[in-house]
């Protein structure tokens, strides 16, 4: 048995509490800033406790938009973020479960080639090919559309690899049994494989939802209309105002709203999140 010393436990608690403080402090400040009026925040002497402007700030941020900058209200940005994050997650799951099914459960010419074509995309993050991809999306007339926000981000090898890995662990006897029962490829997929994949699908959904919600560079490039902005790029634009002061209290309320959905997903679906994170990185 390893020695157990109260002092060592005390140090552990102290260090971890410090860690949680470091992790939470910037977010706490944002929360506090979102409850004060503009003058208090900009004055540089903001108190460390919440103020009284909470409802007004959030109401203005969500439904009205900044007065000085004639920005879109956040409600609209939230809708855009939800649509694109869910679109990216669902789209990625859809195309990758089908392609993994083809690669694992069928034998056909160019099977290996198809797998490698998908696999190599791991090496081409959107950042290294931004302008040519932008041009493709522009040529397809997809600028300022949900399809333009979603499609270029759903093709990647992560999902296919994950489903392939999972399908390999499904016992062969299940397929043999279905075939004896006379099931074709579709029946086997719907009745056997899909129900078994539910946890894997959920884990991938959680990770991809966060990934989609937090996208920055791509939406920044392809949205020119304010009405198509996602919330993450909306915050940045609130702070880049030309001649007048940025409305920090509204920007911070927006930041809080932008963090809420993905953070809630991590906290309330922690097991799926951890599972998805560990599996997609393998």
């Amino acid at each position: 048995m390893v020695e157990h010393r109260p002092l060592s436990d005390f140090i552990a608690y102290a260090i971890l509490t410090l860690g949680i403080f470091i992790v939470a402090f910037p977010v706490y400040l944002a929360l506090v800033a979102s409850t004060h009026d503009a003058a208090t925040v900009v004055g540089g002497h903001m108190p460390a406790t919440p103020g009284s402007q909470t409802l007004e700030n959030y109401y203005r941020a969500v439904f009205v938009g900044g007065s000085r900058t004639s920005r879109e209200p956040v409600a609209n940005m939230l809708i855009n973020s939800f649509v694109s994050a869910i679109g990216i997650a669902v789209g990625k799951i859809f195309i990758s479960i089908l392609s993994a099914y083809a690669v694992v459960y069928f034998r056909f010419p160019f099977r290996k080639t198809a797998f490698w074509i998908i696999f190599i995309t791991l090496m081409l993050p959107v950042e290294v090919r931004i302008y040519p991809t932008y041009k493709v999306v522009a040529d397809l007339k997809l600028l300022d559309t949900y399809a333009g926000l979603i499609l270029p981000l759903i093709a990647s090898a992560t999902g296919t690899l994950l489903f392939r890995q999972f399908f390999m662990t499904v016992p062969d006897e299940l397929l043999e049994a279905s075939r004896i029962d006379g099931a074709g490829p579709w029946r086997f997929f719907w009745d056997t494989l899909l129900p078994l994949s539910v946890t894997t699908i959920a884990a991938l959904f959680v990770i991809q939802f966060i990934y989609g919600w937090n996208q920055y560079l791509w939406p920044l490039l392809i949205t020119t209309k304010d009405s198509m902005q996602t919330i993450v790029i909306g915050i940045k634009k609130m702070l880049v105002t030309t001649d007048e002061l940025a409305e920090w209290q509204l920007a911070m309320a927006t930041a809080v709203l932008a963090m809420l959905p993905p953070v809630a997903v991590v906290i309330f679906m922690q097991r799926l999140f951890v599972r998805g994170l560990v599996q997609t990185e393998k």
Binding site: V23, G44, P125, E127, L151, L239, A255, V266, I267, V278
Partner: protein
């Protein structure tokens, strides 16, 4: 590893693959090949005429002092972020691994910043350290430091590093904790019986056994610093002041968009692709080794 029982169907597998292959070709291979092709072209200011110039874009690129500066910034930035976020996360993970009663709650409270968008993390940190209204700028001024990340390059880089480390601790913590929990207790107990004190046990038993996790995280962190910190840099400094926080990825963006130099931007993209491919290859060699163990 292959399935022994499979379906025999001539058309269906191609239909199943079609959606992913179409999207991959249209949004990956076509743009990537365009990037390579564009890196050999020079376009006039209006993008009407383009002329094949061979390696000229690369020669121009590698003759630019700014490009070497971006490389230096990227190197300093990655080293600092990887070293700091890995060591801080390892410290927290070793403490959380001590069989504490509240370990589960600590884990939840440590991992949620993973869900904060890099750009939002940047905005939060900028808010704290903004020169005129930042709550933490005043104490710094009080300590006699002329803190101004908008004008001072070192201050700007420090701020971007802090925000990036803050964002990455949760991820590293999660994997370190999993790695620590996978180390058999018996090995550590054997060390304790032989009289090794906790620090010695850490450096001679735990740390070496953790090295696969550490190596994996090192590669992931470098990739993170290269690409995912774009949002942080753009939100906090916009690459400035005077290029002090312009990393290689940021320069691709800035040169193509603001400078309009698509050929030069494409050449930079190709250099980056080579770096990513090298990093991925390293990662896969490591994965293969892990499988053999």
């Amino acid at each position: 590893m292959e399935k022994t029982t499979v379906f025999n169907n001539r058309v269906l597998p191609y239909l199943l693959l079609l959606p992913q292959l179409v999207i991959t070709v249209v949004f990956f291979y076509w743009p990537a090949s365009q990037a390579v092709w564009q890196s050999f072209l020079r376009e006039d200011a209006f993008g009407l005429v383009s002329e094949f110039v061979g390696l000229e874009n690369y020669q121009t690129l590698f003759a630019q002092p700014e490009y070497y500066k971006a490389m230096m910034v990227t190197a300093i930035f990655s080293t600092l972020v990887a070293a700091l976020s890995l060591s801080i996360a390892l410290l927290f993970a070793t403490q959380a691994d001590k069989n504490l009663k509240a370990a589960g709650a600590y884990k939840t409270l440590m991992i949620w910043p993973y869900a904060v968008a890099p750009a939002v993390a940047g905005v939060l940190w900028f808010f704290m350290f903004q020169p005129s209204l930042g709550m933490l700028s005043r104490p710094l001024r009080g300590a006699g430091i002329d803190w101004n990340p908008l004008l001072n390059g070192n201050h700007a880089l420090t701020l971007v590093v802090m925000a990036s480390v803050w964002k990455q601790i949760s991820y590293n913590f999660l994997f370190f904790l999993a790695g620590l929990q996978a180390i058999p207790r018996s090995v550590i107990e054997a060390g304790a019986i032989d009289g090794a004190r906790p620090m010695r046990r850490f450096w001679t038993i735990i740390f070496p056994l953790l090295s696969p996790t550490t190596f994996f995280l090192l590669v992931v962190n470098i990739v993170y610093v290269f690409f995912d910190t774009f949002g942080i840099i753009d939100a906090v400094t916009g690459g400035g002041p005077a290029g002090a926080t312009t990393t290689m990825v940021y320069k691709v963006y800035a040169d193509g968009r603001l400078g309009g130099d698509l050929g030069g931007s494409a050449a930079q993209s190709v250099v980056l692709m080579v770096i990513v491919i090298a990093l991925t290859a390293i990662q896969f060699r490591y994965v293969e080794r892990k499988v053999q163990y």
